[in-house]
Symmetry: C2
Subunit: 202 residues, 2 copies
């Protein structure tokens, strides 16, 4: 069964890929709006850990709308959620037997409710699976420690292909880089550089 | 990391074992009240698919209480939930680094809420993970089809080591076998006989 996994190059989506690898033909899929080239960082990691990779073109209007939401809210959560829902809808229409993301049990954003999952499956005749949604932060951190090589740093320096990078770029273009510091609180990001131990299928 | 997985010999808990096998040292653990010997069926399947197995002695008083709940309710859901929560509490105190069960996204019973999961983890200093909680019924069925050899039949004939068998026996002992047919609606059960394809670690 062909499965497309929304992929950022971060630890959660990489761990999700390893969980799914024994059961599906997994393609790591990075959504992008054509604003920056950050999707290339995800492709590099996908190549290094031995997975198929694809890009998914997202609707630029959704990014503009999410950027507006973030400016109005004063924080990024709802805007990032809008983009994630859009990316799942696009991926569900892309012909895979199953689609997935790396959301964890205690993620505040993005989240996919049971009802949203069922609706996505019914409308697109696809399975939506979230292999980390039954894992809390501490369990994920311990699995990352035993399984992945990662680089950790402040979110403005770490090159990942999550939606945040492009949303930051759009907002910076419209309101200057100072706006970014106010809207996106500084937090640590991780970027996966390799799989620590040989994994089946890799 | 040592992980104890609550195990019935059914398809969900067997699939959960396969998902966890690459990441943890998995022991399949079957809870029992000493009422019947059905736990032996789970041990047979565990041996066949190549996992460590252990029994977990549960408190007979909890089974009696659950049987009372089921008789009072007229259906088994809440009684089975009581037993599952008790089994997780016992397992969490058993010295594993992580504990797990095979609950799915759309299971009505047993269920473990996010708050219950966090409480279990905090009180016992253990990770609780539910690898199938991000998978719906259709996705699980497709994975079972591609991964496991199963026997399907009516729930009164299939020999599994879930709590239902012992609760049925307690109620039958007190009220006769006719009560069982009223309280436990007939439904199909599956019992895993083997893993269909060679799986890493097996």
């Amino acid at each position: 069964m062909d499965l497309g996994l929304l992929y950022s190059g971060g630890k959660d989506s990489t761990l999700a890929a390893l969980f799914l690898d024994d059961f599906y033909d997994v393609t790591l899929v990075t959504g992008h709006f054509g604003v920056t080239d950050d999707w290339r960082h995800a492709r590099e990691t996908a190549d290094r850990i031995g997975f198929e990779f694809d890009r998914l073109e997202l609707d630029r209007a959704v990014a503009e709308e999410a950027a507006t939401t973030i400016r109005e809210d004063g924080f990024p959560r709802n805007g990032i959620q809008q983009v994630h829902v859009h990316a799942l809808e696009r991926l569900a229409a892309d012909g895979y037997d199953a689609i997935a993301d790396g959301t964890r049990r205690d993620d505040r954003v993005p989240t996919v409710s049971r009802a949203q999952a069922q609706s996505l499956e019914d409308r697109h005749d696809v399975d939506y699976v979230a292999p980390l949604s039954g894992f809390g932060r501490a369990a994920v951190d311990r699995l990352v420690e035993s399984t992945l090589e990662v680089t950790v740093g402040p979110s403005e320096e770490i090159r990942r292909a999550d939606y945040e990078a492009e949303l930051r770029a759009i907002i910076a273009d419209e309101e200057g880089t100072e706006a970014i510091e106010d809207l996106f609180p500084a937090h640590e990001q991780t970027y996966v550089t390799d799989v620590r131990q040989p994994h089946s299928g890799i």
